[in-house]
Symmetry: C2
Subunit: 155 residues, 2 copies
DNA sequence: ACCTCAATGAAAAATATTATCATTTTCCAT
DNA sequence: ATGGAAAATGATAATATTTTTCATTGAGGT
């Protein structure tokens, strides 16, 4: 019985292994931050994360939030997105979820994820990427497309 | 003779007309800022512009630089680009120059313009844009592709 | 259980951007 | 050209965001 209890408690936390792989400690702050992203979704600023943590009665200093957002970024767990509102936002990169772009309303700031990508689109971007790698001598790890316009309510 | 002189002096300054069209005054600060972009090229931060102005002995307050970068942005003369370095950069949108994307080295921060776009690429992006407009109900005015990776020296 | 060093919190500092307001400049009507 | 209204500017203060500092805490290996 006790063994069973331990198992179900530890199983969802393969984050522990991820941190270990990076020689980083799986601290409660780090887990709590990841939990916020898993529960509260995308496009969170440092302040957003900080507020969500407070709401959950998990006290984490704002400096620690910044430090760990940067760490998770370097670990490839988060990616940084910029919507031109003067602060950085982060979202989780899930292997499960499709890669996506962003559609931004330049009037009200609304952000929409563009998830569906056709096979054709996928191929095209791979092609463009290869071409750029050759032309510029870069190794390209990722890309990000932002579309700007007016949302249904603002147009 | 005099008429000729006036003509060649005023001709390059159709900026005057542009400002007039927007009911904005063609002040010396604004012209000086545009001159910096014409001479010093792309990817300038507010501070960069400010420094270039000082170097040219043209004294413009930093607040005025910020105000006018924003104005030129709204007028569609500049576009804002973000390379994840904590400050906003601006570059001129020239009808003459080709639209371009950016390739960013995530280690050293180097930024490369990707200018050449094939007919195929152009068509593809128009297609994607149309599709998104339908699907999301947005009107899309522009887009921007960022590629991230390692530059030849950092790879 | 102990020990070491990474991680953290609180606060100060550094950066970047925006707001305020008195003064100056532009530009339009005379 | 001159005068005047209104916009634009400069200096500075204020705000917002992110980073640094450093004493204390806690994670994880032994
Ligand atoms: Mn997203
Ligand atoms: Mn560019
Ligand atoms: Zn909108
Ligand atoms: Zn590099």
């Amino acid at each position: 019985m006790i063994i069973f209890f331990i198992e179900v408690k530890d199983l969802p936390e393969s984050w522990k292994d991820v941190f270990h792989r990076f020689n980083k400690k799986a601290t409660s702050s780090r887990r709590a931050i990841l939990e916020v992203f898993e529960e509260k979704g995308q496009h969170l600023s440092a302040e957003d994360v900080y507020e969500h943590l407070r709401a959950k009665k998990k006290k984490v200093g704002i400096a620690t939030v910044y430090r760990n957002l940067d760490l998770l970024l370097r670990m490839g767990i988060l990616r940084k997105v910029n919507f031109g509102d003067g602060r950085e936002h982060y979202e989780m990169i899930r292997r499960a979820a499709r890669f996506h772009h962003h559609l931004i309303c330049t009037r009200c700031g609304q952000v929409v994820d563009c998830e569906e990508m056709t096979q054709e689109e996928e191929e095209f971007l791979q092609h463009l990427r290869k071409e750029l790698e050759q032309r510029q001598g870069f190794v390209i790890h990722s890309y990000h497309i932002y579309f700007y316009g007016l949302c249904p309510r603002c147009r």
